[in-house]
């Protein structure tokens, strides 16, 4: 604060010195040119020193938008330093022990220790730079402005560099983890190699499916279950290469996988929206499904000719179907549901379902049962009353789900020992230097901008 006050008054002094030179009765052009130059400088520095708080606030906002967080960053780096130090200590002790038994192996270990030590130094550099900038942003930036404010541009470029260095590091240093993750994630998982498959889901009988799960089967590999987004939008992020292979899309509900209109099909031929890269719109019709709500699936074989859902309440549902041949009504529910009543055409009432139980299942981690009720051809109005004992655990937990967010996609090669080695040591050594040099060149550019008034001239 005191430094800022000093710089503000220094800028006023600069201004009056400029005026003084204007008023000098010495008609030398070289001298007179300093007049407007000093006045320009003074205005620029005065504006800078009064708005530095807003500038830092803007840097905060920008960093927040880009996803950086100082607290998280400092904690993460400190944790990594602790981890490295412990690892080096343990390995050194191990090396000393092994040296007495097998000398050759201990040499290998010492190579590993050297790499770890280098990465530890790189981390320490990042850590102390972070401490310096984070806790002294105010002092450093106002010192930079004060240096800039000294009349006749004596320390202008030094001050400009100090200011821009502080600002750039304050903004960009917490983004370092994101930078490292870009470097260390294998190439096949970059944004360019994934495709977002999206679209609406309807049943074959024309009703929108508002919740549920989908999964894609390609080359005996099942990608799923992916939860539908709210309003029943399918959103599936898959590797681009899967689009060019025969694949089958399933609706995954209550341990049953329902076929859809996409069976053994090459998806890239069907994308509706070809204008945008990496996006594939496909609308899906699910076969056989009558109705799905959290953990409760109703379907029928054979497919009924006609379905009308009459009423859906939180604890009841009634619908009307037309069946052409002998068939069955399948009711697949997780264990939290308790069916109180099934009435068919108001004539047949079933209050004890136990004798219709066909088989039990475990849907990822949710256990449940399927009940089959045989029906003869005809038109039926079916009314179902049930209650839910608890709303939790009706659907598979998140660990079993396929991630909707691209950042959660795991590299396929995780567990590969070489990857872990490169990630933990080489990438850190290289990326910290790379990142710091990037920031340095950025702050150099910024200091060039701040340090020269040729681009920021107010008075000709």
């Amino acid at each position: 604060m005191h430094l800022l006050l000093t710089s503000f008054y220094l800028s006023i002094l600069t201004f009056y010195l400029g005026v003084f030179i204007y008023a000098l009765p010495i008609p030398i052009t070289g001298l007179k040119r300093w007049g407007p130059r000093l006045i320009n400088d003074a205005f620029f520095i005065a504006i800078l020193s009064t708005t530095i708080d807003s500038i830092i606030g803007f840097a905060d906002y920008l960093r927040h938008t880009l996803g950086g967080n100082w607290t998280y960053y400092i904690h993460a780096v400190r944790g990594l330093i602790m981890y490295r130090t412990t690892l080096i200590t343990v390995l050194s002790i191990l090396k000393d022990y092994i040296l007495k038994v097998v000398p050759g192996v201990s040499r290998l270990l010492s190579i590993g220790i050297n790499i770890l030590t280098a990465s530890l130094y790189a981390l320490l550099l990042m850590y102390f730079l972070a401490l310096l900038v984070y806790y002294n942003i105010g002092v450093l930036s106002s010192l930079g402005i004060t240096l800039m404010a000294i009349p006749f541009r004596i320390a202008r470029s030094a001050g400009a560099f100090l200011l821009s260095f502080t600002l750039v590091l304050y903004l960009a240093l917490p983004l370092y983890p994101n930078f490292v993750s870009i470097l260390s994630v294998p190439l096949s998982h970059s944004f360019l190699d994934v495709t977002v498959i999206y679209g609406n889901i309807v049943t074959d009988l024309g009703y929108r499916v508002l919740e549920g799960y989908v999964g894609l089967e390609v080359e005996n590999k099942y990608i799923g279950p992916a939860k539908l987004a709210p309003n029943g939008h399918m959103l599936l992020i898959v590797n681009k290469k899967y689009l060019d292979k025969p694949s089958t899309l399933y609706f995954d509900a209550s341990s049953h996988r329902f076929y859809t209109n996409l069976t053994n099909i090459i998806l890239s031929n069907l994308c509706l929206n070809r204008s945008t890269l990496n996006m594939c719109r496909i609308d899906v019709a699910v076969k056989g499904l009558l109705y799905y709500r959290k953990g409760m699936t109703i379907h029928m074989t054979p497919q009924p000719q006609f379905l009308e859902i009459l009423e859906i309440e939180s604890n009841s549902i009634s619908f009307k179907v037309k069946l052409q041949s002998n068939g069955s009504l399948y009711l697949s529910i997780v264990n939290q549901y308790k069916i109180n009543l099934i009435s068919i055409n108001n004539t047949i009432n079933i209050d004890d379902l136990a004798k219709y139980r066909a088989y039990g299942w475990i849907w990822y981690n949710v256990p449940g049962n399927t009940y089959v009720i045989p029906l003869t051809p005809g038109i039926y109005t079916i009314h179902l009353k049930f209650e839910v004992s608890s709303l939790e655990g009706l659907e598979p937990s998140t660990d079993h789900l396929y991630p909707i967010n691209i950042y959660e996609l795991q590299p396929e090669t995780v567990g590969d020992i070489m990857d872990i080695l490169t990630y933990t040591s080489y990438v850190e050594v290289i990326s910290s230097l790379l990142y710091l040099s990037l920031l340095m060149s950025t702050s150099y550019g910024l200091s060039k901008l701040l340090g020269s008034t040729t681009r920021l001239r107010l008075i000709p």
């Binding site: 008054y9 201004f15 010195l17 008023a23 008609p27």
Partner: protein, 90 residues
């Protein structure tokens, strides 16, 4: 001595000297311009001195207002600020 106080002292001195210098330059300028020397080159020097002096007087008169404006605007934006300087006119 406080550095801010020192700078303020300097500002005050520079302002007073600038006013005096403006008068001096203005007088010298007119003296050169009005001198009975039949050389347009010398007259132009006098003209230039008068112009510069008037520019200087303009800036010195308007200066405090400009700095007040800068700090007023940035305090309106919401900064914690050095307080606006008191006018330094003699």
């Amino acid at each position: 001595m406080d550095i801010v106080q020192l700078i303020r002292d300097l500002i005050g001195k520079v302002v007073i000297i600038s006013w005096m210098l403006f008068l001096l330059t203005w007088i010298i300028g007119w003296a050169i311009k009005g001198s009975p020397i039949p050389s347009s080159k010398i007259r132009r020097v006098g003209q230039g001195l008068i112009e510069d002096a008037i520019w200087g007087a303009f800036w010195v008169a308007i200066g405090t207002s400009i700095f007040w404006l800068i700090s007023y605007i940035s305090s309106a934006i919401g900064n914690v600020l050095p307080k606006p300087p008191v006018p330094e006119l003699p």
